[in-house]
């Protein structure tokens, strides 16, 4: 027990903490500038000077640890003089331009100067001048205002792990700059600007448009860009979002945000937002009233069901919509129209991956907590870059490295490049080879005795490739040996699975290998999720085989429960999945479709096929916030409300239920659940819902997973898995692995002049939604083709050139960008930009075991674009 006295108040602690922390415990405030939440102490601003008895000089409270019997004074006259002097020093070069500074009103330097500062400085020399950098689309850097507390640099290095900025020069010439000296060219997470105590690094988005005291309202909500579900605060004035700021006290992200969350909120204000419902009349979509659109939709659906039966109707749900929206869509399709044909874009990766892993290990196997990753001593990543798909989860992976843990990445290391010791970047198509070798070695070294005979039997059946094969696919024996040796030593490992494991190659085998590796290592599984509520979409029964709560349709008891509790009769038979719906529409067995918040034309490969299938439908209704490629084919379009305009719940990739709160009070559209409930009502549904809470109440009554979870209780840790209800126990029985005993084939190397195309997941963009965000478009405005520099050279192409990519399925135009992380003969294109999306120019097949998307027709030619 350590006892100290601060300003005559006795403080007792059992830990060695700093004087600053001890003072805080008893409510004594010591002014600080360079100390910041989650950052290690630096002691550079000298603002927190305190007197310690028997020490001749004042000491910095933020760095000095307490010792027993210490007597500290924080408010003596000498200390007041010292604070005044420190501020005088800090203001020597500060321009004192508070009237035009965005930070004024919440600036710590301003507050402290008002409280302690000298009215005038004694320095007669001129102030240091540095030009203001406006070179970046979202961040303004004004180094005149900088007080060199290095909070931004420490945030960038220690928390974000991007190492983009540094202190340049020395002494009074010091300033903070990125490598280029101009543009940041970094991850644009903007965490440096929430760390800046003054106005040196500020957001360009709302520059000179607000004052902190102009904020009329603020709400705590969940980011709507990816599957992490970061907590953030929306600040509003007159119904528009002025800015997004992080909340350091709440949420799983402890104050960290990524570029999409912090800057990508402005799509809600895009001028192309749909403003009123549209109905196709004489081939043109024309604005109509809400009543007309709802009645027309109900009438058409009723008519088509009468004519062709419920099985002719299908629904596509969305991971961008809330649980309540998705629940209501499946209610419409299943219980009002009588069809089990409901699926979502989760089918494209997340749903097959998670359900396969749950088949192996039981429901909830992927429900692990993201902040817990930081406590791990090793992370194994395969199939995608967590720092771009789920950036804040990626930060957690980097923090493992920061603490001395090991990070292993199979494939392109991307944003984790500086966190790994050896690259395991294999030739395209050789992932299963590498994974098999690693798994077999770890299994052998661990001397693992499995309790699961099914997995055990499959593990022994694996054919292990020899080192020669692995060297031929470009992996070094040293790297492999290192990975196997270190993996075995891990005490608390994490395995992260990305979309590439399923999208290319043998999905079930890749998933089995990773699942088994996690099982042998006794680790925690995470599956990357690129939309905020893909998991919730599945939990709400938006998948042909499962009902609300993830219960299989075949389980009759659950069907009875639905009938007894809600009077809803589940239709018979397993419905069609996403691909079967497209085929059904093509062949004419599907006549009507309701698409909610999804853009299948752009997101399912083979654009031409999907487009022509949807055109053959007798009736297509779409609810969305923009007139997407899909919506422009529709017979009825409903304007939905965007993420910031509605209440509801999201389920993130750790299966944590979180509340989305309405920020903007007026919306151009209506919440999807409301639109759907109106249609259901028009079709004869008995229940009526007053608000989103009443929808949730029904869900928690029906779903055995969510049973008893109250809407109000979903705050803080309230929504962590398992919720009130009971998860399904592990499903006993065998599962299928395609080609388990086959030796993975050596990939066929591309012929000269031809390149294999992959999907690039950019950090800046979240699928096609972010193309409507001016801020994100400002950072990355054009489609990029990432390609290995050697391959680019062999094609006679150079960096920043405009190129045309041609496949059997179509063409796209992009700017070539040399990227050493790409294996030779491989290029990557994003699926974001209109008319130039990756998925529009490739084809697909269905994985026989997973029933998931397997992308084909990836061989392309790349040529220099003709001059315009």
């Amino acid at each position: 027990m350590i006892k100290i006295t601060i300003d005559g108040i006795e403080v007792q602690t059992d830990r060695e903490i700093t004087i600053l922390e001890a003072a805080k415990q008893v409510g004594i405030e010591i002014p600080t500038l360079c100390t910041f939440k989650n950052l290690s102490p630096s002691g550079s601003c000298r603002m927190c000077l305190v007197e310690i008895e028997r020490l001749s000089r004042p000491q910095t409270a933020c760095t000095v640890k307490i010792t027993d019997g210490m007597v500290v004074r924080t408010n003596s006259e000498a200390i007041m003089r010292a604070r005044k002097a420190v501020l005088e020093f800090l203001l020597i070069n500060h321009p004192l331009d508070c009237p035009v500074c965005d930070k004024a009103g919440e600036c710590i330097l301003q507050d402290l100067s008002a409280k302690y500062g000298a009215a005038a400085g004694r320095f007669k020399e001129g102030k240091r001048t540095n030009p203001v950098s406006f070179e970046d689309p979202v961040i303004v850097r004004d180094m005149q205002r900088c007080i060199l507390c290095t909070r931004c640099v420490r945030t960038c290095d220690d928390l974000q792990g991007a190492f983009a900025i540094s202190v340049i020069n020395r002494g009074s010439h010091s300033l903070i700059e990125p490598f280029s000296g101009g543009r940041f060219d970094c991850e644009y997470c903007g965490n440096c600007l929430s760390a800046c105590p003054v106005g040196a690094i500020t957001s360009k988005l709302h520059r000179h448009t607000y004052r902190p005291w102009y904020i009329e309202r603020q709400v705590e909500t969940i980011c709507g860009h990816c599957g992490v579900g970061c907590t953030l605060t929306l600040q509003m004035r007159e119904n528009t979002i002025i800015r997004v700021i992080p909340d350091f006290e709440k949420g799983l992200n402890s104050g960290m945000l990524c570029v999409m969350g912090r800057f990508g909120y402005d799509y809600t204000e895009h001028e192309e937002r749909l403003r009123s419902p549209l109905i196709r009349k004489d081939g043109e979509l024309v604005p109509v009233s809400w009543e007309e659109a709802v009645e027309f939709t109900a009438w058409r659906l009723k008519e088509l069901v009468k004519k062709y039966g419920g099985g002719a109707v299908a629904g596509i749900a969305s991971g961008r919509c809330t649980n309540e929206d998705n629940y209501m869509l499946q209610k419409l399709i299943r219980y009002v129209l009588g069809s089990n044909n409901i699926d979502s874009a989760a089918r494209l990766f997340y749903r097959p991956a998670v359900s396969y892993l749950e088949r192996m290990f039981g429901q909830g196997i992927t429900a692990n907590l993201i902040p817990g990753i930081a406590n791990s001593d090793g992370v194994f990543v395969a199939g995608g870059d967590p720092t771009t798909i789920n950036p804040v989860l990626g930060i957690a992976v980097r923090s493992v490295w920061k603490k001395g843990g090991k990070v292993f990445v199979v494939g392109k290391s991307g944003g984790l490049r500086s966190n790994i010791k050896h690259e395991l970047n294999h030739a395209e198509g050789a992932g299963a080879l590498v994974l098999t070798w690693i798994l077999a070695k770890v299994y052998e070294k661990k001397n693992f005795i499995s309790e699961n005979s099914i997995i055990d039997k499959k593990l022994s059946a694996l054919k292990v490739p020899d080192m020669d094969m692995l060297v031929r696919v470009g992996v070094s024996p040293e790297a492999l040996q290192y990975t196997a040796d270190e993996l075995v030593r891990l005490k608390n490992p994490v395995v992260i699975i990305g979309p590439e494991t399923v999208l290319y190659g043998n999905g079930s085998k890749n998933l089995f290998l990773l699942g088994a590796l996690n099982y042998v290592l006794n680790g925690r599984l995470f599956v990357l999720m690129d939309e905020p509520n893909t998991q919730g979409c599945l939990d709400m029964g938006c998948s042909p085989g499962v009902l609300v709560g993830g219960r299989p349709v075949e389980l009759e008891t659950f069907g009875h429960k639905m009938e007894n509790t809600a009077g809803m009769k589940t239709p018979e038979g397993t419905g069609l999945n996403l691909f079967e719906m497209i085929n059904g529409a093509n062949s004419g067995s599907i006549k009507a479709m309701f698409v909610m918040g999804e853009n299948p034309v752009f997101n399912i490969p083979d654009k031409k096929k999907v487009e022509s299938a949807l055109q053959k439908l007798e009736f297509l209704a779409v609810s969305d916030i923009f007139l997407t490629e899909t919506a422009s084919l529709a017979d009825v379009v409903f304007p939905a409300s965007a993420w910031s305009e509605k209440d509801g719940t999201y389920t993130n990739l750790e299966r944590r239920l979180q509340r989305l709160r309405k920020g903007t009070m007026s919306s151009r559209g209506r919440a999807d659940w409301k639109i759907l409930a109106d249609i259901c009502k028009a079709l004869g549904m008995k229940e009526s819902y007053t608000d989103v809470k009443s929808v949730w109440d029904e869900i928690s009554r029906i779903s055995s997973v969510h049973s008893g979870v109250r809407y109000e209780s979903l705050i803080g840790r309230g929504g962590i898995w398992p919720y009130g209800g009971e998860p399904l126990r592990g499903i006993e029985g065998d599962f299928e692995v395609e080609g388990l005993e086959d030796m993975p084939e050596l990939p066929g190397f591309a012929q000269s002049g031809r390149v294999i195309l992959k999907e690039d997941k950019s950090l800046i963009h979240s699928s096609s939604l972010s193309r409507y965000s001016p801020a994100l478009m400002g950072v990355a405005s054009e489609p990029l083709l990432m390609i290995n520099p050697v391959t680019a050279q062999s094609l006679g192409l150079s960096d920043n050139e405009r190129v045309v990519i041609t496949s059997d399925k179509g063409t796209a135009v992009a700017i070539l960008r040399a990227d050493r992380g790409m294996p030779e003969g491989v290029a990557a294109l994003s699926n974001t930009f209109k008319d130039n999306g990756f998925r529009s120019i490739v084809g697909y097949t269905i994985d026989p075991t997973l029933k998931s998307l397997n992308i084909t027709d990836r061989v392309v030619t790349i040529e220099r674009a003709k001059q315009l």
């Binding site: 190492f163 900025i165 540094s166 020069n169 020395r170 490598f179 280029s180 000296g181 500086s418």
Partner: protein
């Protein structure tokens, strides 16, 4: 100024790998690798920093911070020959500023600048420890003392 070519970057890479063997940590190899970069490119070019970062794994922004911290590294392009002229107290008294003025007149050379033909760069030094024989300068790696305008003139003629 030597052009940045893949060959030159390759030479730099090889040298850094050698240097990394000599030091306990990669960070420690930074300072000597700056000299190598100067030797190859005439100054620590952004491309060179990129290469050092790739090889050592030290972030590029941090390398730039280190390089800019020390005054004697060349962080911008310099002439073929570097005149490091002292203007501290003794040299100043003995007329170092006249020499600065003369260099400006004859070669158009300003402190911190480079002649248009890329022949000379002028760096103003603090004391170089030659107060007894002031004014003094270091030209590339040679030191010259008791300078006068005439002597400077003849000396510089021999550096083409």
């Amino acid at each position: 100024m030597p052009q940045v070519t893949t060959e030159r970057l390759k030479i730099l890479r090889g040298k850094i790998y050698e240097l990394m063997e000599l030091y306990p940590s990669y960070q420690a190899a930074l300072l000597p690798s700056f000299f190598v970069a100067e030797e190859i490119f005439g100054f620590i070019s952004p491309e060179a920093i990129g290469e050092i970062s790739n090889v050592t794994g030290v972030p590029a922004a941090e390398i730039r911070g280190v390089a800019s911290f020390y005054a004697m590294y060349k962080t911008k392009p310099m002439g073929r020959h570097i005149i490091q002229l002292c203007t501290n107290v003794s040299c100043m008294i003995e007329g170092a500023y006249d020499l600065v003025e003369y260099l400006k007149e004859k070669y158009g050379l300003t402190p911190g600048g480079t002649t248009p033909d890329g022949r000379f760069s002028l760096v103003i030094m603090e004391c170089i420890g030659a107060c007894g024989t002031a004014p003094a300068m270091i030209l590339d790696t040679d030191s010259y003392e008791n300078l006068t305008k005439d002597r400077l003139d003849t000396l510089l003629e021999s550096y083409k």
